[in-house]
Symmetry: C2
Subunit: 179 residues, 2 copies
């Protein structure tokens, strides 16, 4: 950030009075421009014990597998955003949508909120514009070496573990990536 | 938003090619300025079945009671942010911090993430700069008519219900306010 989005004057990185962190503050109108973490939300889509994964057609992690997920938009709920992303990236409609995993990715200032869901009849899915390929995987078919993000591995581990127990508690974890 | 934070040229609200929503786009450098929901996080602090509430010393809802919570900052985890807010607003240190409630407030583009926690020994607390007063309330002492936000009522209802059952599942709800 270089200029004030309200008045176009240059901003400086300073700690406002009464604050503890440096912020971009306008040199002219004194607007404080806060920057906050972004929310990514999506669905772990299941069908007969298999999980729907999307092969990414976009960077980062082009060609690797992920769950359908993306940035939450203003004026939508987490669940609406998760289902929208699932429809966009995997062309899948889902039901029995339940909160399943919340992840903090502090290094990249993101929060992930994932919902467990069942693929709706007639069990259609397909590659949306951001996916090269979309497929259902049983546990032994998961491409563990070709997953796009640490959170994908984590939520799959939770799911196949919980499925054996028959209970699906909501999980919370902090995820760190080697830098 | 009126001006581009990268180059100071005016922005227009247009739908970029391949997108489905209107965004602020720079007329000169074509930077797309996405705007996304903000995350508010905090703690439901409990001690011997009582709950810690803060009387707000700031707008909005000056003088009404809330749980310690505030905007998550970049580079922190949800739990770190929740504990920081609890220390700032209620001067309370907590332990046994566990994810407890996730709320979507789509009307105001916010996500709330609240953790259940126990007040740490020696059980100190006090009014931080944003609070007029901080106190522990048993269920029959809760000022139900003077709560600051619908999410405060909701999380208190969850807690006193769950306490009777002796189990504390993670809750998810969409919260709508009369407009």
């Amino acid at each position: 950030m270089k200029f004030c989005s309200q008045c176009a004057a240059p901003v400086s990185l300073i700690t406002p009075e009464g604050d503890t962190k440096a912020r971009f503050v306008c040199s002219t109108c004194y607007t404080i421009h806060y920057q906050n973490p972004k929310v990514v939300t999506g669905c772990l889509v299941t069908h007969q014990g298999k999980v729907l994964l999307c092969k990414r057609a976009i960077e980062p992690r082009y060609g690797l597998w992920t769950v359908p997920a993306g940035f939450m938009e203003n004026r939508e709920t987490l669940e609406e955003a998760a289902c929208r992303e699932t429809l966009e990236e995997a062309e899948a409609r889902v039901e029995q949508v339940e909160l399943y995993a919340v992840f903090s990715l502090s290094q990249i200032s993101q929060v992930y909120v994932l919902f467990k869901s069942e693929l709706s009849a007639p069990f259609n899915y397909g590659a949306g514009i951001e996916s090269l390929e979309v497929a259902l995987f049983a546990e032994h078919e998961i491409p563990w070496g070709e997953l796009a993000f640490p959170i994908v591995r984590k939520v799959l581990e939770y799911y196949f573990h919980d499925r054996k127990q028959g209970v699906y508690p909501v999980h919370y974890a902090d995820i760190y990536r080697d830098e």
